[in-house]
Symmetry: C2
Subunit: 413 residues, 2 copies
């Protein structure tokens, strides 16, 4: 019998428990023996609630040590969602030589180098497939391809909440606030949606992907981030008129010994592969010198899809097939985000005088921009090939309020 | 040192050799020791050619036994492309307990059950990722998901040649024969393109995918096949006018204890995920009850992409991480292809009398079809929900020549 220690019994934790029950026969057959949850770490309040629901309380504990010190436990699954506690649980488990599987993207993003170093030191598997792209098998294929390829590009729709909001604004003409509220009601968006809509969640996932793909640490600070919270129907109207859609994309590109890593809204043609990725789905593409372009697509979050990804890691550990020893390479790359250029879209909604000032300054760009005044009196500027930092500098000098403008890159190749 | 015995030194075999050379350092680091090709089986004529090219002939042999009997060889990579010989080489290797990796889709499709039984009997890995979807990591993720999900649907653009022809006919308005000739010049299509354009290659891949996904044998005979060789610009014009594209799709669906498995041209909306899969690319989607929909996309063929897929299998074997024991399940499913229904598009180009006969007969369908006469005098019939077999029966009764009509399904959900 193989045993799992489950840390956290919220949405994802319950999903892990449910799939293990649904698939017990198939798993026993494949593993040569049954696998079950031995103990579940819950908050004191949840203990009472679960008791009231008639759940077998002998499985539950409020003390992490009950799991850490249980000699029967073969794998610890960390799905608390907590930052400090999550990190502490993972460190303690690895220290003790107990393999860890986590979906905790914040902790992995902040500490993947030290956790992987500890894992190697202790010869103890540490896997985190569910931390990026939800159900999509991306980290495992990526770890396989880095052995056989030089990966120079990785990009994706990495946040389901932002993509859900953009899709509904686009397809139903709804306002940002209205769609955000619906997303919160449906449980797609948090009460504080900042991480999702301002791109920080995508940034963490891109940092993890780029670190694996480029074989050298790309930290959170190495990623430029801009989000979608200021997008309006004026933007959507313009983008629609160009037969395009807008997606929040994370994108990291290596050129020689330098790389760029940016999360930003990107306006893509309707025929682009990312254009058909709608609602809460995620999609990730990688490009290697031998394998060419590989593209993956699936549920970016959710109880059972995330639990499925976690259990793939658990099975790999139980079968002795886990790969974690070579996650971090020793490439020394320098960040070239400052040099990033592209075509950029800017919409500003403010008083006429300020608009005129923006128009005047944008005329100084090397490539003459395109201007348009919308029905509601906003100014749209589409810059030809320009430095990203110059576009943002222009907005910064004018001291616009965050809600008064929206910037998106136009195309990405 | 780990050694590979390479059977075949054509396009894919050379790719395997090339990647092993390009990535020797990274592979040695990951595997803990270097991996190299020990011996290559070539045809006598190639031996002379390679000698003339200055290739190290001590690596080459024309006798399979030199590889089979070499005690240093850890994995045999079969990329001969030959049917009888390929099968014989694989059987002999497994019999002797030497792990086998193959890209030979014809042999895997015809014999996967017996090869996997032999592999299990001999406790010897047998992997064939490169046989389906070229570079796309699909069989390994599928083998992982079948443990955690009931998979009820699998579908894909499985043949790069057919997709290349359809893409260029569509985008450049070229005729079928002209594009086929270009595809042959570029090496995408064989001298005899029947397998690719008539759907038999897709059928083999669908048979392999469905057998894995449904956990019970779906044989080649269980798949209905129709191809694209009779498509004309009259078809393309109509499909374009519907804001759609046409793709040769393989699709297998399970409902309860029955399933359907069909390879046929399908007209899909431009917003469909398959619509953006162009030229020689492949794309495969699976749907599981826990993981939801997963979609994969990449190069469907080619020297280095295929070699990359082969080497992923080789690495799994050398790391002891290969999965092949549970490829075939014991589900007893019955084939329900006869009951398959859908909307169907039919274009017929023939004499006016025959067209009138078709029009009359098609009027007898339960749902009244849509009729249209094209500029060149062809008849287009779009059937509402109808049995697939009824549509083909109508064409069969009229005894039309294969080149005089084109049938495609309209949509697939």
């Amino acid at each position: 019998l193989k045993y799992i220690g489950l840390l956290g019994f919220g949405t994802v934790g319950s999903g892990v428990y449910e799939i293990l029950n649904n698939r017990s026969e198939e798993l026993a057959l494949a593993l040569g023996e049954p696998v079950a949850v031995k103990k579940i770490l819950v908050m004191p309040a949840d203990l009472e609630r679960k008791k009231a629901e008639g759940f077998d309380v002998s499985l539950l504990t409020t003390r992490f040590e009950d799991i850490l010190e249980d000699p029967d436990i073969d794998v610890i699954v960390e799905v608390t969602g907590a930052f400090e506690d999550g990190l502490r649980y993972m460190r303690s488990s690895l220290e003790k030589g107990i393999p860890v599987v986590t979906a905790n993207k914040s902790v992995v993003s902040a500490h993947m180098e030290s956790l992987l170093t500890l894992a190697k030191e202790k010869e103890t598997p540490f896997l985190y497939e569910a931390a990026v792209g939800g159900a999509i098998p991306i980290l495992k294929p990526l770890k396989e391809e880095i052995l056989l390829n030089r990966i120079d590009e990785i990009e994706g729709i990495l946040n389901g909440t932002a993509n859900y909001i953009l899709t509904r604004m686009f397809e139903e003409g709804l306002d940002y606030d209205k769609v955000l509220k619906k997303a919160q009601e449906l449980g797609y968006a948090e009460f504080d949606p900042t991480d999702d809509v301002e791109g920080f969640d995508s940034m963490r996932k891109l940092r993890i992907l780029a670190t694996l793909a480029f074989r050298g640490a790309v930290s959170e600070d190495d990623v430029i981030v801009s989000g979608i919270s200021s997008i309006t129907q004026a933007d959507i109207d313009y983008i629609k008129s160009e037969n395009a859609v807008v997606k929040l994309l994370g994108r990291a590109v290596r050129t020689g010994d330098t790389y760029t890593a940016v999360v930003e809204p990107i306006i893509v043609d309707r025929s682009d592969s990312f254009a058909s990725v709608s609602m809460a789905l995620n999609s990730i593409a990688i490009r290697g010198d031998h394998v060419g372009e590989l593209r993956f697509y699936g549920e970016g979050a959710g109880k059972l899809p995330t639990a499925d990804a976690i259990l793939r890691d658990v099975i790999d550990i139980l079968l002795g097939a886990a790969r974690w020893r070579n996650d971090i390479g020793d490439e020394k790359l320098s960040n070239a985000n400052d040099t990033q250029t592209g075509r950029y879209y800017l919409r500003v909604t403010t008083d006429a005088e300020t608009l005129e000032a923006i128009r005047a300054r944008s005329a100084d760009f090397a490539v003459a921009p395109y201007w348009e005044l919308t029905k509601d009196g906003s100014l749209i500027v589409v810059f030809g090939e320009a430095k990203r930092s110059d576009v943002y500098a222009l907005v910064g000098e004018i001291e616009l309020k965050r809600e008064d403008f929206f910037i998106a890159r136009v195309g990405y190749r």
